[in-house]
Amino acid sequence: VTALAPEAEPWEEEALGALRAQRTPLRRLVRTLTRNPSLLVGGTILAVYAVLGLAAWLQYGNSVGNLPFSQSWAESITPPGPTLAHPFGIMNVLGVDLAGALYESIPWDLALLGSILGIAVALGTFAGAWAGFARGPVDWVVTSLVDLLLSVPPFFLVIVLFVGLYDFVPIGYTLVLFVLLFAAVLWPYYARPVRSRAESVTSEPYVEAAQASGGSRGRILLRHILPNSLDPVFAQIPIDVYQVFFVLTVFPFLGCSAQGSSGHSFAWVTPFPTAAFPEWGNLLAQGVCYGLQPGVTNFWWMYFFPALVLILFGVAVALTTDGLSAVFQPRVAR
């Protein structure tokens, strides 16, 4: 910018002003947000979730399975629906106020999703970019591994791995195992598209220029290949939010419905240390299981509100990633 002539024309002044205005980070942020409504809306919702999550965490800490419980609610055959005192109604069997339970779940869900997606995205992006950039044996190993993992439905793969290792993990640490395994199953979903993007980015002139100017391979990978290969990551994240919630919901749902039909005790392997674990998917599954018997009972609030909280979160993530994708790849038509 300083290279511009000092006796600038008025239009140049204007452009310069706009460029200067961009230089304060806050203004840049505001500018980005106002031009990108989906990022604004999605980001705002996510921020609300984060604030609520922080508040819930400060209030409850990591009190696993300590949902506020009432015996009379648990045994109620006709649990009360939404009222002013209990805006999301009561869930019987678990015997909890649903609004409180969903609130207490926020930090757990954020932590679960954050860690699973964080690990998977970091691992997948890095491995994909490296494979696409380096080619050769690294590429072969990564591609074969990715092809292998992608060819088994992630839902089944997670269960196979989880159950094989379940017995070796102390009961309080099953969630940690679950997070690690899920990340291990999901990373190929990032590695594959990132790899093919990185492959084409590697042949871009600016990468050749960087190589010609003596940039080290690591620097080229981190500064040029990675940032320019991120676009597929944003498209994939909302789908994986779905995958994670699908498994978190299906685990307790199958256990619960198996229990309901045959009267067996709860013998299903689950990542949750207790059946009343504060987690949206768990609450949704139990809400469906106890609140919705087709043609018989329909305590709609027991599944509606968990689903609502979950869907709102997913929509926020999708809007945010769509917005981010536009920020990182402004030229790509969305």
């Binding site: 092809d147 292998l148 196979v160 299903w268 392997v269 919705l292 087709p294 689903a307």
Partner: protein
């Protein structure tokens, strides 16, 4: 062993587990546990628990209906099969000119009814002619028939005893105020409740009142009895339980409750309908309320005026509003609710319903006889009385239903064959003359168990039969019998079976050391004969009868189960030696049969390579490129050659996580050196991989089935493929059209709409969508189209067209024969009703799958379509004036199609997961359902190890996942090839 759903088999497994525990103790304590391991005790434990209601009186015969609501427990349940249609409805000449409002009682020869003025009539059960007629001058309640005497409690407070044979009055007893609803005969006591609130016990020989209790308000309904305790309720909510000496057992008062009806007893629970429409379950032991079911209806419309019927598992009733409920007897959860009834506000529904295993009979709306499917509440048939109100409670006997009406008729719903049956009775004894209880006696495809005195009673029409009898520990008995009239006093002498000892020892097949703690079971043609657990020195001793022909060993994680052919034929078998092969070790010499093929394959492969090299050399010599295959051919070869590597990696994963790690967790390797463990792992893996690849998949227990894994797949794969064909076509059509249309104008209204819809479709779990649709649409679907013959509910109307059973071409796995594709097989057998129902269901499911899957597919597809929509070729075509519609569907569609194919391949696993969930929710006989079911049983089955159960180990889930993997891999390969065939540029892009 996968836990099968049948309780008998569960009992057996529990028992084996218990035996394992005992077997693990030192020899001394195992001896102390001796009685529990004796064959007789084992056999006694093996028999499934009795499901009969708790009652001290013997269950009624198939043609008996002796008191109000059938039995002294007032359960309204009978195990006979009632009428299955209205086809046999008929009425004999009018029995009385006055309305009949109490229920009829029936024995094998007579029907007894009483009208509202006290005229009592006995009819011949077979043809409806009047045998005798008398009057008691007062409106009676439903009579009680006991020991040849008919007891009637009447409005004038008198209890009458009439001789059932002649109608002669034997005695009367004044109880002070009107006797309500029904009396009861228990061990010589007639129990009656009165309007004055007294519960009386009267000696049934007319010797006066034995005891009485006052409840303080009129007795509600009929008193009930179970297990020697009489239960009665007062209308103001007082509950009383007294024993037969009149000593109170407990008493309890329900607050704010008005009761119009008495208890129905099932299991150890008393069920009580309340005037506010609630149904309570009360503990028979202490009167505490176990659960309460609220029908939440108005004060009059919702009132329960007739007791519920219960088989101990479910409780079914009709309330004043006309709604018919069925709830789980254990926890009060609703099983079904039927509204397919006559609206009935304003009527008192006093007629007590009757539950049988095949039908639930009730008077609906006061004027229609309905028969509902007891499992589902779906109406099977109904018989309208056209404005005539019915108060009489029906009596249900084998094949028939009898009912009194307000115009004095006795209606029969009964096929003639059940009317013309003769009673055949007798006693079963052993050679010493001691009566044998619980012996099965069979005649003309009826079977009964003998009572404690060895007696039995069966019915048969004229004809020649073979009477069969047999029980545990007796030799089978048969007697040719010609029936031309009633036969009584038969004496069947059953000889005990001689047993012979079978002993031996169990050894480790590798080391030869003793194997303690394994279960040893002897099996004969009739089933299990004896079972025990091997002792600390590996030895076992059992006793078994002649004909026993299999010895089954299993129950240990570390050894495969095995079965040996062992024939017991008139002498003891000693010194049997059974070698068990340890789990995880490769079976010795497994290469032997295949080594020669491997060698041949190696030689062949070498020759092929040499030949190709020679071809290539000659091409080069001729100045051509040395490459033999085209670019496309090389690509296909490269992709295909990756498959074995991927396959091997998946097998390693399945073995390590499914078989090896659970073994480690079970401490199967405790104390072994790491070298041994490694060797074991590698050898085990080789054996595992080889048997998986070679299709040697063994047997697996699934539910109550034990079949080769290949059989399961042959049964259920066609079903899955059929559903898949429908769902894929719908998904593809929908995904292609929507994806293209959305990508055509990104951020346009259609794209925005599909984006939101696909996001919602993604985030709402598929099973919630499916359940909501099930809830909203499935019941109406069932009413319109009918149920599926398997899956959620059996359609009884459909079954009835096949004589009450599934047709022969539906196999034990719910699979159809011969092809396994239900629609194809229905066509082959010309069963178009089946075809329609299955087609409708399949389309319904396919639509649901498509809704969920397309949402996922779109997320990827619109990006790809958007790119192609702005390609230069499209812009150029537009400038040439090509119409937009053609640009979209032809120009862009053609270019996007290859990528759509690739996207489909990528999302195939997600598709399979969605279909599996859909199959599981509809209980389909498909592979996806099998996989999910296997996984729900993970924790109880030791995932991946089929514990020795006498079958070679087979791992259904490992095979199923392998199968899915091959499908996905094959699908991917196919998609890659198709995409590159459609768009050869992909080859050069290295994608």
């Amino acid at each position: 062993v996968r836990l099968p759903p049948r309780s008998g088999a569960r009992t057996l497994i529990l028992l084996l587990l218990l035996l394992l525990l005992f077997g693990a103790l030192p020899a001394g304590s195992a001896h102390r546990a001796g009685p529990a391991t004796s064959p007789a005790a084992l056999l006694a434990l093996m028999s499934p628990p009795s499901a009969l209601p708790l009652s001290s009186t013997p269950p009624p015969g198939p043609f008996e209906w002796a008191t109000f609501h059938g039995d002294s427990a007032r359960s309204g349940y009978t195990s006979v099969r009632g009428p299955s249609s209205t086809a046999e409805a008929w009425a004999p000449p009018q029995a009385t000119p006055l309305p009949i409002r109490s229920g009829p009682v029936v024995n094998s020869t007579r029907i007894f009814v009483a009208d509202i003025e006290g005229n009592v009539v006995a009819l011949n059960r077979l043809n409806g002619t009047v045998v005798w007629r008398t009057t008691v001058w007062s409106s009676p309640t439903t009579p009680t028939l006991a020991g040849g005497t008919l007891f009637l409690g009447c409005d004038n407070g008198l209890l009458y005893a009439l001789d059932a044979a002649t109608g002669r009055l034997l005695w009367t007893q004044d109880l002070g105020s009107a006797i309500l609803q029904g009396t009861l005969d228990v061990s010589g006591e007639i129990i009656a409740g009165t309007e004055g609130g007294e519960l009386y016990a009267v000696n049934d020989t007319g010797a006066g009142i034995l005891w009485s209790h006052s409840l303080g308000s009129p007795i509600a309904g009929a008193p009930a009895e179970a297990g020697g305790v009489v239960y009665a309720a007062g209308t103001a909510g007082q509950l009383l339980a007294v024993d037969l000496n009149g000593t109170p057992v407990w008493s309890e008062t329900l607050r704010n409750v008005t009761l119009d009806v008495g208890f129905a007893v099932g299991g150890a629970r008393l069920f009580l309908g309340e005037a506010n429409g609630n149904l309570s379950a009360i503990s028979a032991a202490n009167g505490s309320t176990l659960w309460n079911f609220s029908t939440a209806a108005g004060p009059f419309e919702g009132a329960i005026e007739a007791p519920p019927a219960t088989d101990g598992q479910s409780v079914d009733w009709i309330e004043g509003g006309g709604a018919i409920y069925s709830v789980n007897a254990t926890n009060g959860s609703l099983r079904w609710l039927s509204n397919a009834s006559v609206p009935s506000a304003g009527y008192l529904l006093l007629s007590a319903p009757v539950l049988t295993p095949s039908g639930f009979y009730l008077i609906d709306g006061g004027e229609t006889l309905d028969d509902l499917n007891p499992a589902t509440g779906v109406l099977r048939w109904s018989y309208p009385y056209g404005g005539l109100t019915i108060y009489s409670s029906p009596a249900v006997i084998q094949g028939g239903l009898i009912l009194g009406t307000d115009d004095g008729l006795v209606n029969y719903f009964s096929p003639p064959s059940s009317l013309a049956s003769w009673p055949i009775s007798g006693t079963v004894v052993n050679p010493n003359g001691t009566p044998l209880a619980n012996v099965t006696v069979e005649l003309n495809s009826q079977s009964v168990l003998t009572g404690a005195d060895g007696s039995f009673l069966l019915y048969a029409p004229n004809g020649s039969y073979l009477l069969l009898a047999g029980g545990a520990g007796t030799e089978p008995f048969s007697l040719p019998l010609t029936v031309t009239g009633p036969i009584s006093g038969l004496r069947l002498v059953l000889r005990p079976v001689a047993t012979f000892s079978v002993s031996g020892e169990l050894v480790d097949g590798d080391s030869g050391r003793a194997v303690p703690g394994a279960s040893v079971v002897l099996v004969g043609p009739a089933g299990y004969e004896a079972a025990t657990v091997s002792r600390a020195d590996g030895s076992f001793l059992l006793r078994a009868p002649n004909g026993t022909d299999f010895l089954s060993v299993g129950g240990l994680a570390a050894y495969y189960g095995t079965s040996e052919h062992v024939v017991v034929n008139g002498s003891a078998l000693v010194g049997l030696k059974v070698a068990l092969s340890p789990v995880g070790l490769a079976s010795a010499g497994f290469f032997d049969p295949y080594g020669i093929y491997l060698l041949l394959a190696g030689v062949g492969a070498g020759a092929l390579v040499a030949w190709l090299a020679e071809v290539s050399r000659r091409r080069r010599t001729a100045g051509l490129s040395g490459r033999i295959l085209s670019r496309f051919g090389r690509y296909v070869l490269m992709r295909a050659s990756l498959m074995p590597v991927q396959l091997l990696a998946l097998l390693a994963l399945l073995f390590a996580f499914g078989t090896f790690l659970p073994l480690v967790a079970e401490k199967a390797y405790a104390g072994l050196s790491s070298w041994t463990i490694l060797k074991d792992f590698l050898e085990g893996f080789l054996a595992f991989a080889w048997s998986m690849v070679s299709g040697d998949w063994g047997y697996a227990a699934y539910g109550h089935l034990s079949e080769p894994v290949t059989t399961y797949i042959a049964w259920w794969l066609p079903y899955t493929l059929e559903l898949m064909a429908f769902a894929l076509v719908m998904s593809a059509a929908l995904g292609y059209a929507a994806g293209l249309r959305a990508g055509w104008k990104p951020d346009g209204p259609f794209d925005f709409g599909t984006r939101i819809a696909s996001l919602l479709g993604l985030l709402i779990p598929s099973f919630l969508v499916i359940l909501l649709v099930l809830g909203g649409a499935y019941s109406s679907f069932v009413h319109v189209v009918g149920d599926t013959p398997y899956g959620i509910l059996p359609n009884l109307a459909w079954f009835d067209t096949h004589g009450g059973l599934p047709p022969g071409w539906i196999g034990i796995g719910g699979n159809t024969l011969p092809t396994g594709f239900p629609l194809v097989d229905a066509g082959i057998h010309g069963d178009w009703q089946f075809f329609e129902v299955v087609l409708a269901k399949t389309i319904f499911q396919a639509t649901l799958i498509a809704i969920v899957y397309v949402a996922i597919f779109l997320r990827y597809a619109r990006h790809s379509a958007a790119e192609h929509a702005h390609a230069l070729s499209v812009v150029a075509a537009r400038s040439r004036g090509v119409p937009e519609r053609r640009l979209l569907w032809y120009h862009t569609g053609r270019r996007a199609l290859p990528e759509f194919v690739l996207l489909f391949a990528i999302t195939l696993p997600v598709y399979i997961g969605t279909q599996a969930v859909a199959e599981a929710l509809f209980s389909d006989p498909g592979i996806g359902n099998v996989l999910l079911t296997e996984m729900t049983q993970v924790a109880s089955s030791g995932f991946g190890i089929t514990h020795g159960n006498g079958f070679p180990a087979g791992n259904l889930y490992q095979v199923t996942i392998l199968f899915l993997f091959l499908v996905v891999l094959g699908g991917n390969l196919l998609a890659d090839v198709i995409a590159r065939y459609l768009d050869p540029r992909l080859l050069s892009e290295g994608r």
